[in-house]
C-alpha cells in the first residue's frame, strides 16, 4: 500500500510551496512540487519606464531583494547595448558577493542545519568534549570550552522559557537525527555566532547600497554612488576601508567554521550523498564582470548535461545567444494558458492565469516550467560550483578539494566530486561557493580601490532609449542559482517583462514532455522513516534553499496541520 503525504507550506511564508510525495515501502516513489501563489508581478511592469524596473522587481522576492535589482539593470543595459563603468561593476560585484555570503550563512545555519542538528540533544552534551572535538579541526577562537559551556547555559535558559521560537516544531528525537550531543552543541554554538557574522555581511550591503533591505544605489548604466576621495557624504576611501574590516571578519568565519561544519555534519550523514541528485543537467551564469561590456568574468558559468563535467559548455558574455536562445517556459502543468500550444521563449512570454484544481496529471502549480534546449536543468550553488570546476576555476576547485579532503579524513575513505550530486552535496557546494564569494568580495574591493587610485571616479553612463523596439536579457548568478530578466522595450517603455527565477528552474512542475523538475526528481528514492514526520523530504527540499519568489507573508491566526497523510 502506498501513502501520500502533502506538505503545505514548505516555507513559512504563506501559501508558497506545497510538496506531495507518494511513499511505498519507506521510500518516495513519486513527487509533485507546487507553487501555491500566483506570481504575475511582471504585469505591473508593462508600460513603465525601464529605468524604474529594478526598484520594482526587487520587491518580488522577500529574501533576495538585491538580486532582482542587479538582473533588471543588466537586462535593460543589454537591450540598450549600454556599457557600465568599471567602478560600477566593482561596486555591484561587491554587493553581489556580500549578499551571497549573507544568504548562504543564513541558509545553512538558520534554515537548513536544523534538519540535521538536534538542538534539544545539545543539552545533554559534555561541553569540554565538544570543544576538544571541534578544536581538532579548526583553530577558530570561539571553539573553546567556555564558549560551549555558555552556549549550553543559554540554550537551557531559552528552552526553560517554554518558548522554543525558531526551534518549535522541530523534529527533535527523530530517528533520522544522528549527530552526537557534542556535535549538536558545537552546531548550536556556531548557529548563535553565525547570527553576528551575517550582520557583518549585511553591513557591507548597507554601506554600498545606501539602505537595506532594499538597496537604493542601482541605476541603468551603473550605480548612483558618487565616489570621492575627500567628501563625507559619498562613498569615500575611508568607508571602503571600513568595509575591509568586515570582509576580514567574515573570511575567518566562513573558512574556519562554515566549511568545517559542513564537512563534519556531512560526514555523519554520509548516507545523504546517495539521495537527492535528481536532475543532473546543471545550468549557471557567469558573474562578476570586470570589463565595461560584460565579456570577462571572474566567476565562470555554463551548462553541464547529465552530470558529465567533460561536456561543460561555457556561457561567455552578457547577451550570449547560447543562453539567450536556449530558454523556454512551459505551462502545460501550470495554472496559466498561452495563446498557442507549446512552450514560449521569455521575450514572447505570457502571464494569463488559468486555475484548475490540483490535478496530479494535469495542472498543479503556479510556477511555470523552464527548460534549456528542451531539457530540465538544476540551478543553484551546486550547478555553479560544478560548472566552475569544469571550467577550471582555481579557487572553486581548491575549496572543493578542501571540503572533500576533510570529509574523507572524517569518514576514513576517499570521497570524490561525485558525492556532490546529492542532498548533502548541495550544502557542501553552498559552503564552497560562500568561500569563493569571500575571495571575490576581497578582489573586487581591491580592484575598486586601485581603480579609484588611478583617478577614475566614473560610476554611471546615461541611458538613452531609442524609438522603436529593442529587447535584452540580463543574468545574474544569485544565491539560489541563475536568475534572468527578459525585457522588450518599445519607444522607451516596457512592452514585456519576464523574470525566470532560480526557484522556477528547481521547483517548477513537470514540463511539456512530462519530465519532472529538480525538486520532484530529487525526492524520488528518498527514505521516509515516518510519514507523519517527513524530515527526510524536508532535508532534500531545503537543500535547494527554497524560496518561491514573490513572498507573501501574512500573519495567519489559524494554525493548520502542515502535514497531511493519507493512504492511496
Amino acid at each position: 500500500m502506498s501513502t501520500r503525504i502533502t506538505i503545505d507550506p514548505v516555507t513559512r511564508i504563506e501559501g508558497h510551496l506545497r510538496v506531495d510525495a507518494e511513499i511505498n515501502d519507506g521510500k518516495v516513489t513519486k513527487a509533485w512540487s507546487s507553487g501555491q501563489m500566483w506570481r504575475g508581478v511582471e504585469l505591473i511592469l508593462v508600460g513603465r519606464d525601464p529605468r524604474d524596473a529594478w526598484a520594482i522587481t526587487q520587491r518580488i522576492c522577500g529574501v533576495c531583494t538585491t538580486v532582482h535589482a542587479i538582473a533588471s539593470v543588466r537586462a535593460v543595459e543589454n537591450a540598450l547595448k549600454l556599457e557600465v563603468p568599471l567602478n560600477a561593476q566593482y561596486i555591484r560585484n561587491m554587493i553581489v558577493a556580500a549578499h551571497a555570503i549573507h544568504d548562504h550563512i543564513v541558509h545553512f545555519y538558520h534554515l537548513a542545519a536544523l534538519d540535521f542538528v538536534d538542538v534539544v540533544s545539545a543539552l545533554k552534551a559534555d561541553p569540554v568534549k565538544a570543544a576538544a572535538w571541534i578544536q581538532q579541526y579548526s583553530d577558530w577562537p570561539l571553539n573553546g570550552k567556555e564558549v560551549m559551556i555558555q552556549t549550553q547555559e543559554k540554550l537551557k535558559a531559552f528552552v526553560g522559557t517554554g518558548q522554543l521560537g525558531p526551534f518549535t516544531n522541530g523534529y527533535w528525537g527523530h530517528p533520522a537525527m544522528k549527530l552526537s550531543p557534542e556535535i549538536n552543541l558545537v552546531a548550536v554554538a556556531h548557529y548563535l555566532q553565525a547570527l553576528d557574522v551575517q550582520r557583518q555581511a549585511n553591513k557591507i550591503v548597507t554601506i554600498l547600497g545606501s539602505k537595506t533591505p532594499h538597496i537604493q544605489n542601482m541605476a541603468v548604466g551603473g550605480v548612483s554612488n558618487p565616489i570621492a576621495v575627500d567628501s563625507q557624504s559619498v562613498l569615500t576611501v575611508d568607508r571602503l576601508y571600513a568595509i575591509k574590516t568586515q570582509i576580514d571578519k567574515l573570511a575567518d568565519f566562513v573558512k574556519k567554521v562554515y566549511l568545517i561544519d559542513v564537512a563534519a555534519i556531512g560526514s555523519v550523514y554520509a548516507d545523504w550523498t546517495k539521495y537527492g541528485a535528481g536532475v543532473m543537467n546543471y545550468l549557471s551564469a557567469p558573474d562578476f564582470p570586470v570589463d565595461t561590456r560584460g565579456t570577462e568574468f571572474m566567476y565562470p558559468g555554463g551548462y553541464i548535461p547529465g552530470g558529465d563535467l567533460a561536456k561543460y559548455q561555457p556561457i561567455k558574455s552578457f547577451g550570449d545567444d547560447f543562453l539567450g536562445k536556449g530558454v523556454e517556459e512551459s505551462v502545460k502543468h501550470s495554472w496559466y494558458t498561452y495563446s498557442k500550444e507549446g512552450p514560449l521563449h521569455p521575450y514572447r512570454g505570457e502571464t494569463t492565469p488559468h486555475y484548475t484544481d490540483f490535478q496530479d496529471d494535469g495542472k498543479y502549480s503556479w510556477l511555470k516550467s523552464p527548460t534549456f534546449y528542451g531539457k530540465r536543468a538544476q540551478v543553484g550553488p551546486l550547478a555553479a560550483v560544478l560548472n566552475a570546476v569544469a571550467a577550471g576555476h582555481q579557487p572553486t576547485t581548491a575549496y572543493v578539494t578542501k571540503v572533500l579532503d576533510t570529509v574523507s579524513a572524517l569518514v576514513g575513505a576517499k570521497v570524490g566530486v561525485d558525492a556532490l550530486h546529492s542532498t548533502i552535496g548541495r550544502h557542501a557546494a553552498r559552503a564552497v561557493r560562500c568561500a569563493v564569494m569571500l575571495d571575490l568580495l576581497e578582489a573586487n574591493w581591491q580592484k575598486l580601490i586601485d581603480n579609484i587610485g588611478k583617478g577614475d571616479v566614473a560610476t554611471y553612463n546615461k541611458p538613452v532609449f531609442p524609438k522603436g523596439e529593442i529587447m535584452g536579457y540580463g543574468f545574474h548568478e544569485a544565491p539560489r542559482g541563475m536568475l534572468s530578466h527578459w525585457t522588450v522595450i518599445r519607444d522607451g517603455k516596457i512592452a514585456n517583462y519576464q523574470c525566470v527565477v532560480p526557484s522556477t528552474w528547481n521547483a517548477g512542475p513537470r514540463s511539456e514532455d512530462g519530465a519532472p523538475g529538480p525538486y520532484e526528481a530529487s525526492l524520488v528514492g528518498n527514505p521516509v522513516a515516518d510519514p507523519e514526520k517527513p524530515l527526510e523530504v524536508l532535508r532534500t527540499i531545503h537543500s535547494f534553499d527554497p524560496c518561491i519568489a514573490c513572498a507573501v507573508h501574512v500573519h495567519d491566526q489559524e494554525t493548520g496541520q502542515a502535514v497531511r497523510v493519507r493512504a492511496v
Binding site: 504585469l43 536544523l114 518549535t168 516544531n169 513572498a551 501574512v554 491566526q557
Partner: protein, 169 residues
C-alpha cells in the same frame, strides 16, 4: 529633553500585492507626516525581516505595522501586545523559515529582544496584483498611521506633526 527609549517602527509586507503592503505604506506615511526624533527609526522592511535584525535588537519598543488575517471586516485595525504575539507567531511546520517571528525568536535566544513589541495590523481584503491598496484599506490607512503615532506617544516618543507632509519614499 533626551529620548527616553529607542523605538523602531517596522513596516512589513509586499507592496506589489495591494493590501499585503499596507504595513509598508503605513510607516512611509508616518514618516511623511511626522518629524522623527532621534532615537526613533522607521524601517520599510518589505518582506525581508531578517535584514532588519540589527536595528531591531535591544530596542525599547518594536512597533510592527502589517496586515493581519483575523477574520474581521477588511480594514479593521487590530492591536496585539507582547503576550498575544507569541501565540500569533506560531510557525506551522518547521523551524526553518526566516520570517518576522523567527527574527523575534532569534533575538530572544540571544537575549537581545526588544523590551516591548506591539503589532498594529489591518485586516486585508485582497492580495491582487497592484501597487495600491484596496479602497477599504486605503481608507483605513490614516487611522493606522494615527494608531502607530499614538502607540509611540504613549511610550514616551515625542512626535512632532509636520505642518505639511513631505513626500513619502
Amino acid at each position: 529633553m533626551a529620548q527616553s527609549i529607542r523605538a523602531v517602527v517596522l513596516g512589513v509586507g509586499n507592496i506589489l500585492l495591494s493590501d499585503e503592503g499596507i504595513g509598508v505604506h503605513a510607516v512611509n506615511e508616518l514618516a511623511a507626516r511626522y518629524d522623527l526624533p532621534p532615537g526613533l527609526e522607521v524601517i520599510d522592511g518589505g518582506t525581508s525581516a531578517m535584514d532588519c535584525l540589527d536595528r531591531i535588537a535591544e530596542c525599547g519598543l518594536l512597533l510592527i505595522a502589517d496586515c493581519v488575517h483575523a477574520g474581521r471586516d477588511p480594514g479593521t485595525l487590530i492591536r496585539l501586545g507582547d503576550g498575544e504575539l507569541q501565540a500569533f507567531f506560531r510557525t506551522k511546520i518547521s523551524p526553518h523559515q526566516v520570517g518576522l517571528s523567527d527574527v523575534l525568536a532569534t533575538l530572544a535566544l540571544h537575549g537581545l529582544s526588544p523590551s516591548r513589541t506591539v503589532l498594529i495590523g489591518a485586516e486585508p481584503k485582497s492580495f491582487a496584483l497592484g501597487l495600491e491598496p484596496t479602497p477599504e484599506l486605503a481608507a483605513t490607512l490614516p487611522a493606522m498611521v494615527e494608531a502607530l503615532a499614538a502607540e509611540l506617544t504613549a511610550a514616551g516618543v515625542r512626535l512632532q506633526r509636520r505642518e505639511a507632509p513631505v513626500a513619502a519614499e
